[in-house]
Amino acid sequence: MKLKVNSAELSKALSHIQGVVELRHTLPILSNVIIKADGDNLRLSSTNLDIFCSEKIGASIEVDGEISVPAITLHEIVKKLPQGSDIDLEMDESENSLNIKSGRSRFKLSTLPTDDFPDISQDDLLVKFIMNVDDLKNMIDKTKFAISNEESRYYLNGIFFHAAHKNGIDILRSVATDGHRLAQYDMPLPQGAEKMSGVIIPKKTILELRRILDDVNGDVHIALSASKIKFACSEVELVSKVIDGTFPDYTKVIPQNNEKKLKTNINDLKGAIERVSAIAVSEDTKSRGIKLIIENDKLQLLANSVSKGSAVEEIDVKFANDKLEIGFNSRYLLDIISEIDGSDVTLSFSDPAAPVLIEDDAHDHLFFVLMPMRI
């Protein structure tokens, strides 16, 4: 293998695929990137056995070939070379090494046989559809904060993507929950997605995909089965196993009859929560509780801490019900408020112990559910 490649292009591709590489692994090949030179293209691939990521870039190839070298080391070298400089890569078969040459820099990286590189079969990905990259970004961004990190409930460690019906319309829905809050985002069901089975995409995949989506434009080609999902956009391809578990019936925890509605300006509410939270964070316990007292179109936010003191802030709201007192984890509430793009928000309450529905007044395809805290 012998080729010349631009350092900026190689660095960008390596930044996409090296996130998948495991620092601690069982198989040595898993810390390597496979470099395959074929015709005018150079394909870089890596995997951690759960996620497979590959990217194609242009290169001037003199001799075709395939080699594997430590991914993180190669990326460290390439990103420190002058931006846009040319890099010569040449396989040295006698020494089983990859020679890297750029300007006056020379490197020799050890290699491993590429035959050991595990492959993820993509034959069974029968359901295929296309999504706009911004739509996919939204589906992820509005829900990913609610993904659970708890090992015990592994089936909540990802975003649940599935087809659903809403008001007689077919939709594609993303849902994430950690049991304390839930986020749901809907968009019209893309053509071809009608037969998709619901899949729980793991958090690691979501984070890697999201990083890649920032660097691509246009459409994302999605293909999936019950156990795998593939995202292909521009020249990047990411295939991931999905979580083998059943997402709980989240529809049962979405409040249907929360009649007590509070409407307010999102910035007023966000600012007040942020200020009051400075007191709410407890050093002794994990509690970050704040209390909301709602009465006569006024919302009072209160926090108390034995060591820090207390805080009270009042904002104007619209609330046509009897006085209501309810407690929340301030961080959970802030996480939700931060995902609302419109200028106003509606919080629908039932009683102080029941889940609250939080809706963006400007978008009916997005809502959140938050469990209160006893304070």
Binding site: S152, R153, G179, P248, V253, D284, K286, M371
Partner: protein, 421 residues
């Protein structure tokens, strides 16, 4: 120099003193008390100390001295020591409300504003504690808690103080402090002491006179607080209300090495139950359970194995049944066959006060289990801690600790109350 005044009341060789209260024949004789499983010496009478028996030394290393000198040896009896501690603390509380119970045998009290001769007052406290409980104590008085601890050290070491030492208004305090090794300062352990020695700080005076920036680098902000306290500026107030605990650990070494998973699970079940009972008493809920296992690190014939694993509970709990189940599963996860295990433990952390825990969208709240726990606690309180157990604890007790020389529970068991002829 602050105007505050603190005293540290520390029971002399507390565990030994507890044994002596109910067995006066032990007075003026060498006596030692052992750690759990009869492992190490953790309390010595001054007669035992004079024989060269060091604190913390494993029992087997001093077996010859013990046999030769007829040293009286006691397995630890925490039921007795805990009850005697309660009596001592209650007696101290009769003198002041400003009390911080620091450990089973130590309490800080605030003496700020108390008129008259504080030395006399301290002697009175000492006399009353001895009269009411039979436990001798030493008292150190100073302007800060750290200096009070140092004063207490002097009161214990030098009999001329007659059990009470005050560093208040002491003109030659520097001369006194330069005679005490830096390792004796409250909060300076063996490793930190070594580090300070390497930097030329050997005694308390040298530590007290060291530059702030140097101390900060060597000992962090807490070290600087200690140094300020040694200079007479109080940085550590009395903690009259116990701060919420951050973790709760129950661990024990086994009476004999265990090779079977079932035996270890049985022991871990008991540790988990005891830890949960403790946090339930403090009205806390745990959100994290950790289990650890290890073989004997001193056994040179067999390979050493240590492992630990944790789990986050989606719903914080203080339900014995739930936590025991989780701990048992975690034990299975880290257990490896072929090893002879010597110790295991359960650590609970990530506490929420009861009623402030996050409520889960998917969990079904049941008050029946809460009520069951309350009922179990009530029964165990009335009839003894082991009346109602979890079935997985079983009763074989193959792991049970060595307690070859345990004294009776004189103060908490009606059958063990002493008869005076």
């Amino acid at each position: 120099m602050t105007n505050e005044v603190f005293a540290l009341i520390d029971c002399n060789a507390f565990y030994v003193s507890c044994e002596r209260v109910f067995n006066p024949k032990l007075n003026n004789k060498p006596v030692v008390a052992l750690s759990n499983n009869d492992g190490c010496i953790i309390a010595r009478s001054k007669e035992a100390k004079a024989l060269g028996i060091k604190m913390g030394v494993p029992l087997f290393k001093v077996k010859d001295i013990i046999r030769r000198e007829k040293v009286h040896v006691f397995s630890s009896n925490y039921t007795l020591y805990g009850d005697m501690s309660r009596r001592v603390m209650n007696t101290i509380a009769e003198f002041t409300n400003d009390i911080e119970v620091y450990s089973i045998d130590e309490a800080f009290i605030g003496l700020t504003g108390i008129p008259g001769d504080l030395l006399k007052y301290a002697h009175k406290i000492r006399k009353v504690i001895l009269q009411y409980t039979g436990i001798p104590v030493s008292i150190g008085i100073a302007n800060t808690k750290t200096l009070a601890k140092t004063a207490n050290h002097l009161a214990k070491d030098d009999e001329s103080f007659n059990g009470v030492c005050s560093l208040l208004n002491l003109k030659n305090i520097d001369a006194v402090l330069s005679c005490i090794e830096v390792g004796e300062v409250w909060g300076i352990g063996r490793q930190l002491s070594k580090k300070l020695n390497m930097h030329g700080i050997y005694n308390i005076k040298q530590l007290k006179d060291a530059e702030d920036s140097r101390i900060r680098k060597l000992m962090s902000i807490n070290g600087l607080k200690t140094v300020f306290e040694l200079r007479g500026t109080s940085c550590l107030p009395l903690e009259e209300v116990r701060t919420t605990r951050k973790s709760c650990c129950t661990s024990r070494s086994f009476g004999q090495s265990l090779k079977e998973l079932a035996d270890i699970q049985q022991a871990v079940s008991i540790f988990a139950r005891r830890a949960v009972e403790r946090i339930r008493k403090e009205q806390l809920l745990t959100s994290s359970v950790t289990v650890f296992l290890r073989t004997n690190p001193f056994d040179k014939k067999n390979k050493y194995y240590f492992n630990t694993t944790s789990i986050h509970l989606s719903k914080p709990s203080n339900d014995t049944i739930e936590v025991v189940k989780v701990a048992s599963n975690l034990t299975r996860k880290i257990f490896k066959t072929g090893y002879a295990y010597q110790k295991a433990g359960v650590l609970l952390s990530g506490f929420y006060p009861e009623g402030e825990e996050p409520v889960d969208l998917f969990s079904k709240n049941s008050t029946i289990r809460d009520e069951l726990m309350v009922a179990i606690d009530k029964i165990n309180l009335r009839h003894g801690g082991n009346t109602i157990k979890i079935a997985s604890e079983q009763l074989s007790g193959v792991w049970a600790q060595k307690k070859e020389n345990c004294s009776p529970n004189y103060t908490t068991n009606i059958d063990a109350v002493l008869n005076v002829d």
